[in-house]
């Protein structure tokens, strides 16, 4: 975990961000439906903080990550970077901002151009932003390669000569080339073996301390997310359903979905694994084209009642910055629940 600078202005803030993808059909390409990939998400991340974004495939976490760095244009809502709204910026206006926000992708095999040498994969961002001359750029790339645990001799090699873990290091070096403030890491370790995973998590932590980075760390494994995050947001079908300081989420999950996600993480301890209750979620995440009414989780929730099918629960605070959206909150006493409901009604 890193030191978080508490200043008035967060490094990045998203307000009610939505991203819908139209589904078009027929000769006229008429819009027949919309995929509600991200459906009204708000949070702020302070400089030096790591926010973990967790959820199953299809919950919208990757779309949200890509919308934040403006690889996608948001359908609605605001994205505020260092106090300036950037959601409406065009390509030219965005260019200086691209230096400040970078992305690390999930698949280390698909995210590196197989026909380019490592030197140009990592160095091209510098070239695009016209930083330094050829010699300076080369020196900088070699330094970056060393920082991420590769060797400067790798400069002239091609991606296929590297293992999965090494490729992910190249992806990280590329993201760091422009000395960004914000790095959105989209499942950076889920394609790797556990032994390489831990190397990569330690590396990301070292880099955060060295370059004062702010991370938005996207993953489906709550074990991995706990290890890197200061705060964690749990997403389900395009919405944040729970958000809390990292350790608290594990001790005191409020939303039943979080509880189920936690119980699905394998425990490398046979006796404990036998003893603990595993809540197996039935089925898959429903289609985000027609999300279920009321609470979106109700068809898979073991606590669901009538109210869950009819009324969508608002995201309310249960103290200590712990937010959750649920009609039947877990691990919460009745006074706290009542206070939370009142505060939601008042706001």
């Amino acid at each position: 975990m890193s030191e978080v600078v508490q200043t008035g202005v967060p490094l990045i803030e998203v307000r009610e961000v939505k991203k819908y993808f139209p589904i078009r059909k027929g000769m006229m390409q008429r819009e027949v439906a919309r995929v509600h990939a991200v459906d009204g998400v708000s949070f702020a991340v302070q400089e030096g903080e790591t926010l973990g974004l967790v959820g199953e495939s299809g919950c919208g976490k990757s779309t949200l990550g890509r919308t934040i760095v403006r690889l996608y244009e948001p359908t609605a809502g605001q994205i505020i970077f260092q106090g300036t709204p950037i959601e409406g910026h065009g390509a030219r206006q965005l260019r200086p901002l691209r230096r400040e926000m970078q992305m690390v992708f999930q698949d280390p095999y698909a995210s590196l151009n197989p026909r380019k040498r490592v030197g140009s994969i990592v160095g091209d961002p510098l070239k695009i932003h016209k930083l330094g001359d050829k010699r300076e750029r080369k020196a900088q790339v070699e330094e970056l390669l060393e920082t991420v645990g590769l060797s400067p001799e790798h400069y002239n090699r091609y991606p296929h000569e590297f293992s999965g873990g090494q490729r992910q290091r190249i992806g990280i070096a590329r993201a760091l080339a422009l000395r960004p403030k914000l790095v959105v890491a989209d499942e950076p370790v889920s394609a790797l073996d556990v032994s390489i995973q831990s190397q990569m998590l330690n590396l990301l932590e070292d880099l955060q301390n060295e370059f004062r980075l702010t991370y938005i760390f996207i993953a489906h494994d709550l074990g991995v997310v706990r290890h890197v995050s200061d705060r964690i947001a749990v997403m389900y079908l395009g919405k944040i359903v729970e958000m809390s300081p990292a350790e608290e989420l594990y001790v005191r999950p409020i939303m039943p979905y979080t509880e189920a996600l936690l119980s699905a993480v394998p425990v490398p301890d046979p006796d404990l694994a036998q003893k603990r209750e595993r809540i197996v979620l039935e089925g898959d995440v429903p289609s985000p084209i027609n999300p279920p009414g009321g609470c979106r989780f109700h068809p898979r929730c073991r606590y669901a009642t009538q109210v869950c099918m009819e009324i969508e629960p608002p995201l309310v605070e249960y103290g200590n910055g712990h937010l959750a959206a649920c009609h039947h909150p877990l691990n919460v006493d009745s006074t706290l629940a009542a206070a939370a409901v009142r505060s939601a009604a008042g706001s």
Binding site: E56, S57, G58, S163, G164, G165, Q166, D193, V194, S195, I196, Q197, S198, Q199, L201, N202, E205, H220, D221, L222, G223, V224, R226, H227, E247, Y250, A260, L261, L262, S263, A264, V265, P266, V267, P268, D269, P270, D271, L272, A273, Q274, R278, V280, L281, G283, D284
Partner: protein
């Protein structure tokens, strides 16, 4: 004792390449009984998948050389002809592959693919085969199987495709099911579903399972026995509880320490095994793990045998270190560094 299905004795699989001979599997032995779940654990390139594929006869090639024996119900599968092997594949030994996206044919309906597997091994008409496919899809938990049987693979989610793969692997009621990283491409929630499904089906179909994975957490509550593989060798072999509570090989400690655990306080840093697995063409002298092992000493220049050093006698490992020394030192590796106060 349950019926012995598979007896693998000192299996070696070597492949001749332009750069030299790749010793992908270099002396692996294990026994598998009906009803048993065997976990094979190791990093990429440790030879776990090649072991499985060699048992299935999928690595046969002009450039491959095999030694040892793979005895299935009394017959050595390494000596069986290619055409005879077809009768074993699918019918006697079923396999589930890692990537459900690429192991189904995208231009055939799910039901057709399962029915094809059935009709390859049994003389039944199309209608019967299709009905069996529907029944299998129901057993693996596909909702509404009567209509989903006519779907194409792209209409299934990742978890459903893996279920369809399992249905196909089980279609001829094999005695042995080999699952090669069946959950690596899936979400943790879906992973939990699939592992539970394999565990249940093993009992329903009265078969034995070989579960291959890189994550020790996955096999903790399903496997009866675990093999830890490194560079083509078995470096530790034990019953599951013994492996987790009394691990003897520093490589096993490293694998355990690499997992970010929810059942323990968060360490400041995770343990990570230094470096990467060695080239299988030129293995390090002595113990293959020596260059990455923080506890290596002079004697490790000599290759340790797979022997029993602790109680019970079923627990084997390949390590020269003294048992008392290991018990005193492994805790640091497994727990990672504690959170700085």
């Amino acid at each position: 004792m349950a019926e012995l299905l598979l007896d693998v004795r000192d299996l070696k699989a070597h492949f001749a390449t332009e750069d030299g001979i790749v010793k992908a599997v270099d002396g692996v032995s294990f026994r598998l009984e009906r009803g048993q779940v065997l976990g094979i654990v190791g990093e990429s390139g440790s030879g776990k998948s090649v072991t499985a594929m060699t048992i299935m006869g999928l690595t046969r090639d002009v450039n491959s050389r095999f030694e040892g024996e793979v005895i299935y119900k009394g017959r050595d599968l390494l000596k069986v002809s290619d055409s005879e092997m077809q009768d074993y594949r699918g019918a006697e030994i079923g396999m589930i592959f890692q990537d459900p996206m690429t192991s189904l044919n995208p231009v055939y309906r799910i039901g057709e693919q399962i029915a094809e597997a059935i009709r390859t091994h049994e003389k039944v008409d199309k209608r019967t085969a299709k009905n069996r496919a529907v029944e299998l899809l129901r057993q693996v938990g596909i909702p509404n199987p009567e209509s989903r049987v006519d779907d194409f693979p792209h209409q299934f989610s990742g978890g459903m495709r893996q279920r369809a793969m399992i249905a196909m692997a089980l279609s001829c009621n094999p005695a042995v099911l080999i699952a090669d990283e069946p959950t690596t491409a899936l979400d943790v929630t879906i992973q939990a579903q699939i592992i539970e499904l394999i565990d249940r089906l093993k009992d329903d179909f009265n078969s034995a399972v070989i579960l291959i994975t890189h994550d020790l957490g996955v096999v903790a509550d399903i496997a009866d026995e675990i093999l830890v593989m490194y560079a083509g060798n078995v470096v530790e072999r034990a019953e599951t509880r013994d492996l987790f509570y009394d691990p003897q090989m520093p490589y096993t400690w490293g694998l355990l320490g690499s997992i970010p655990r929810l059942d323990r306080p968060r360490p400041d840093r995770l343990h990570s095994i230094k470096g990467s697995p060695p080239s299988l063409i030129t293995l390090p002298q002595g113990c293959a793990f020596r260059p990455r092992c923080p506890h290596a000493f002079d004697r490790c220049m000599e290759k340790p045998p797979l022997e029993n050093h602790v109680d019970p006698p079923t627990h084997l490992d390949r390590c020269w270190l003294d048992v008392e020394y290991k018990r005193a030192h492994r805790g640091d590796t497994i727990a990672g560094e504690p959170e700085a106060a």
